[in-house]
């Protein structure tokens, strides 16, 4: 398995990948990316957090695509291929998380309310292949 596109954001586990978040041990608020110094809930001054895996699936809140190649630090395929982007609402965490959608799935294949699952996919890096998380529609859900 290739190294992650950004260290510490997700587990590199091909079978059951998860986003790595944290949870305030006092008020229960989840954080992604991880928060481990101060809770941002104005009614909570806790500084204790547990690292937690986030839910692996959620509901599609909205979606779009990128028709133009983004600037660095994005590393694009040659030639550039447009990709879809999903905003997925996680029920337990009450949080919306962004991410690219797996290759081969475009905006015409998506609709709000669909169930989306976290998977890993290889992407180009500055010095060779990397792996990142992507959202994939769950067939028949």
């Amino acid at each position: 398995m290739n190294a992650p596109i950004i260290e510490g954001l997700f587990s590199v586990d091909a079978a059951e990948p998860v986003l790595l978040g944290s949870r305030c041990s006092a008020c229960g608020t989840y954080y992604f990316p991880k928060q481990s110094n101060y809770c941002r809930n104005p009614d909570c001054d806790s500084e204790r957090f547990d690292e937690v895996p986030l839910s692996r699936s959620g509901t599609l809140w909205s979606f779009t695509n990128a028709c133009y190649q983004p600037p660095a630090p994005y590393v694009a395929e040659e030639p550039f291929e447009p990709y879809a982007i999903a905003a997925v609402k996680l029920e337990r965490e009450q949080m919306i998380v962004l991410g690219q959608v797996v290759k081969g799935v475009g905006v015409d294949d998506l609709a709000a309310g669909m169930t989306m699952r976290l998977v890993l996919e290889d992407v180009p890096g500055v010095d060779g292949e990397r792996v990142t998380w992507k959202w994939q529609p769950v067939e028949g859900a």
Binding site: I5, I6, E7, G8, L9, C24, C27, G28, T29, Y30, Y31, F32, P33, R40, N41, P42, D43, C44, W61, S62, F63, T64, N65, A66, C67, Y68, P70, P71, A72, P73, Y74, Y83, I85, A87, E93, Q94, M95, I96, V97, L98, G99, Q100, V107, A111, A112, G113, T132
Partner: protein, 394 residues
């Protein structure tokens, strides 16, 4: 609430464009124009409040002092406010505080910017602790966020790309005769539909450009305004610059996730900005004659109309289709032409909105004049929890 009001004695702008000059030139041109409009001598200005810019080097970080020096040091106090897209409003709020506290009678508020071409991009280097770096690494650009909000409107309210294009067509018609606008062409729905798709459903002509420009105003106490025979000048009745309240409901640039709403209810940020302004001014949406809103995208203008409570949720597209948001309609939106005709010059943009309201309330807006305009409101939002809403009364 009139004890919280200040007068707008004069306004001025340097036309928006891609002029490639130093930002100080635009600010000085706008400031001189505002001074002339106010009929106030430069030496009478005792406070210079600048909107900061982060893309023009050190002089941009200390914009207030930069403009004061360019106009000629005369011993005034200076301030620089940086608050992303709300920088101009924060600079205005600083001037208002100075005036209302009695520390000065007359202040200059000014913002100007020179912008690079293409996508706005993060600073260089490997910086995984910076959310702005993280999202670009993942392939999430500014249009991504605008498009996610636009698509959400389609999914929830049934808005269509044609509804979004109608906003561009309307704003293009408004800005057509505005001498300060950058794009002066009456674009059609066909023009919008023929432009390149950037982030589905938003096309190139649905998304605002970045521009150079400068905007300025001379503000004063009501006593000073009366003393120089300008007791009937438009007044600033409210300046709201509130932060979001946790837990923020939308995924906001540059984040890759929302707050978690497990321990606190999810709350909308945009709507909180005008709500505070209405409360401060002691008026409601029914009192508004016109609004200048931050149309970073065409679809976002529709969100703002609803956030300002000028119609019910989900009804802004129908309002636009019926012509009610055009000059001549019930509640004209972006009579100036908006960002669609200007492009965004960050530290100047919130001030440009107030300049437009001032001209409108004085009846000096020419062909884009909103008949009988009495009260106007602005709204904008930028990165990192910054936003503003200003109410101006005739």
């Amino acid at each position: 609430m009139s004890n919280n009001e200040i007068a707008i004695l004069g306004v001025g702008m340097h036309p928006w464009g891609k002029w490639g000059k130093n930002f100080v030139e635009y600010g000085v041109a706008a400031a001189r124009s505002a001074l002339q409009d106010a009929g106030v001598p430069w030496r009478d200005v005792r406070f210079v409040s600048g909107g900061g810019t982060v893309r023009c080097g050190y002089p941009g970080y200390v914009a207030g002092a930069t403009f004061a020096q360019a106009l000629g040091w005369q011993g005034a106090e200076v301030n620089t406010s940086y608050a992303a897209c709300a920088s101009g409003s924060q600079a205005l709020a600083a001037a208002r505080a100075k005036i209302l506290s009695g520390a000065c009678d007359v202040a200059l508020v000014v913002g100007a910017d020179t912008t690079p071409k293409g996508f706005l991009k993060p600073a260089d280097g490997e910086r995984p602790d910076d959310p702005d770096w993280v999202r670009f690494r993942l392939g999430i650009t500014n249009p991504t966020y605008f498009a996610l909000y636009a698509r959400r409107r389609m999914e929830v309210y049934g808005d269509t790309p044609a509804d979004f294009a109608a906003v561009k067509v309307k704003n293009a018609a408004h800005g057509f005769t505005n001498p300060n606008a950058r794009y002066k062409r009456k674009f059609s729905a066909e023009d919008v539909a023929a432009s390149a798709m950037v982030a589905d459903p938003l096309r190139l002509m649905d998304i605002c450009a970045t521009s150079d420009g400068g905007a300025a105003m001379i503000v004063s106490s009501l006593d000073y305004a009366r003393k120089i025979g300008k007791g009937d000048a438009p007044r600033i009745a409210a300046i709201s610059t509130v932060t979001p309240t946790f837990a923020s409901e939308l995924v906001e640039m540059p984040d890759i996730a929302t707050d978690s709403a497990v321990a606190a209810e999810a709350r909308p940020f945009r709507a909180a900005l005008p709500a505070k302004a209405y409360e401060e001014a002691g008026i409601g949406p029914e009192d508004i004659s016109l609004a200048e809103v931050y149309d970073l995208s065409t679809a976002l203008e529709l969100d703002w109309i609803e956030d300002l409570q000028l119609c019910a949720r989900g009804e802004a597209a129908a309002l636009t289709r019926a012509g009610e948001t055009s000059v001549g309609g019930r509640i004209p939106i972006n009579a100036s032409g908006g960002l669609a005709c200007f492009g965004e010059a960050v530290p100047a943009q919130a001030l440009a909105q107030v300049c437009e309201l001032t001209w409108q309330l004085r009846g000096q807006a020419g062909e884009r004049q909103v008949a009988g305009a009495k009260v106007g409101i602005t709204a904008n939002q930028g990165l990192f929890g910054h936003g503003s809403s200003v109410i101006v009364k005739a």
